[in-house]
């Protein structure tokens, strides 16, 4: 690999001139031409190690994600990369497999790589996560419990759940089952509260047994749905508030022999492909995943460029995509 001196020699100028030219400083026309030619001839690429060692900048942004088996997370990468690439930054993606210890190691790794900023969906308590960051511009997505001074981007969970609940209520449903993620997470809390707010606004008092929480697994959605269906007075509609829970619920509903949109109403969450593939197509709450990623990237760029935007929480609205899985309540 050629270095800057060889380019300089071939072009008949000093390394300083080459460096400046390559970094956008004006040089004499003939020198510019000579440098261009030399670069091409030698197939020269600046050494990022040397440059980074000198500048302590990397033009690189880190992304830490808990998993990759989920279109929610992967869409974030896609859109974040889109925005950052356009701004000249490259993206360094790390997956921590929902393991706090590995998350820490990945963060170390990224810091050693001198990332200029970080976008993360933390799997550790967000407050712990932020504590280890001293000064690094960061935007958090999705899980904001207990964060003081950090920019976050997330779906507007409250109104997402409110809207879904209201559409069921306006179809006459009063006995609605709610499938939530783990109680310990922030998102389920928000979705529950939006749901309950819609019920309260319509004077519907929900039995506690209709509201179920469990881990974000298909099996858990399956189990909770079976439990709901086995109640003496089962709900006439079910709202699953997450991707896996939706799939699990569908499994249980298929088994039950009930026909969606006729015998029972159902609203899912995310699962766009599944929603389109099943019969009848599902009504689902869809998160604007690409917008979330773009907003996170834009915010990070502002942060990197020195803007101060403390504690800014950006909410991205969701969309209620209508399928045919909701029908009027029978009674």
């Amino acid at each position: 690999m050629p270095n800057i001196s060889e380019v300089a020699r071939l072009a008949g100028v000093s390394t300083a001139t080459v460096s400046k030219y390559l970094n956008g400083v004006k040089v004499r026309e003939d020198n510019a031409k000579a440098i261009d030619a030399a670069v091409r001839e030698l197939n020269y690429h600046p050494n990022d190690f040397a440059r980074g060692l000198r500048t302590n900048k990397s033009m690189t942004v880190g992304v830490i994600l808990p998993e990759l088996d989920n279109l929610f997370f992967t869409s974030i990468i896609s859109s974040v990369d889109e925005v950052l690439d356009a701004a000249g930054y490259s993206t360094l993606v790390c997956i921590c497999h929902s393991d706090v210890e590995r998350e820490g190691r990945k963060l170390d790794f990224l810091r050693r790589k001198k990332i200029d900023g970080l976008i993360a969906v933390p799997c550790s308590a967000a407050s712990d996560f932020v504590r280890n960051l001293d000064g690094l511009p960061v935007v958090l997505i999705y899980r904001m419990s207990g964060i003081g001074s950090c920019c976050c981007v997330m779906s507007d969970n409250v109104s997402a759940a409110y809207g879904a609940a209201e559409s069921l209520i306006s179809a006459g449903h009063k006995k609605i089952g709610l499938l939530l993620g783990p109680d310990s997470n922030y998102t389920p809390i928000e979705r529950r509260s939006g749901f309950l707010a819609a019920c309260a606004a319509n004077n519907i008092e929900l039995r506690g047994e209709y509201i179920r929480s469990g881990p974000y697994y298909i099996e858990s959605g399956y189990r909770m749905t079976r439990e709901l269906l086995a109640l003496p007075e089962p709900p006439t509609a079910i709202f699953a508030t997450n991707n896996e829970l939706t799939i699990g619920a569908l499994n249980a509903l298929s088994e039950s022999g009930l026909t969606l949109g006729r015998d029972i109403s159902f609203i899912g969450f995310d699962c766009e492909l599944v929603a389109r593939a099943v019969n009848p197509p599902l009504t689902v709450v869809v998160q604007r995943v690409y917008e979330i990623g773009r907003a996170a990237a834009d915010t990070l760029l502002s942060l990197i460029s020195g803007e101060i935007m403390q504690n800014k929480a950006i909410r991205i609205p969701t969309e209620l995509r209508l399928g045919k899985s909701v029908c009027r309540a029978k009674n």
Copy 2:
């Protein structure tokens, strides 16, 4: 950020000793202790720029993928990262949005980052891709058309399609529709040939109109399926050979009012979640995505460590996951 000299000073040794100790060379017990203490006290992390500048190694492996909106690709990252992380390597993921020019830029980027190896699902013609690599250890996944001297890992597409076809044939189907990806790609060619081999082995002569190719889009699967169903003598079974085509086919089949596994038989590809979510559950060919990733990572590690394994093409078998979408042919 503290540097190695500060650690050395605090520990009362030279920078050379610190460096050696941190890189696994034996030092005196008391020095080791002192260095450990100093590292902890200063919260020292080696500067990867300086280290890389010196060693010209990065302990980093690049991954280039065309997209991220597909569990096939994301599972690759997951499993590759798993293996490499265990070997002390970190993974640098790039997405090129199926854009050849961007693919080239990402490759440049990775080379400047001095990656020690590369795993890629190239979206350019693989032969062009490999040409720009001079010497960098590389493992290609998935698209191997026209590659001479490069390790590849991919599903055993021929027997995957053969098996699916045979299971339809043994259920009595003779009129089978086949949905393929674009003719220009390598994978559809393999899947077609496996399918046709099974037909030939069972003396089934298939009309050309039953075999359709189109881009990897849901809409294309939808359209091709509608075309099949509109034939004067429509097929009694359909085999979709890719994720998107499967979803599209399901859309069209739902619309048609035909019940899967009763009025028409269907086998899909990948789509594990969808397969479980629809009613009846789908019979699908499932790629062992994690094994593909692991095999690629293992192969790359061998390559990096200097083993020569020219032109090695690793085939990972697929699995036919039985659902209830296949029934005996009526006639």
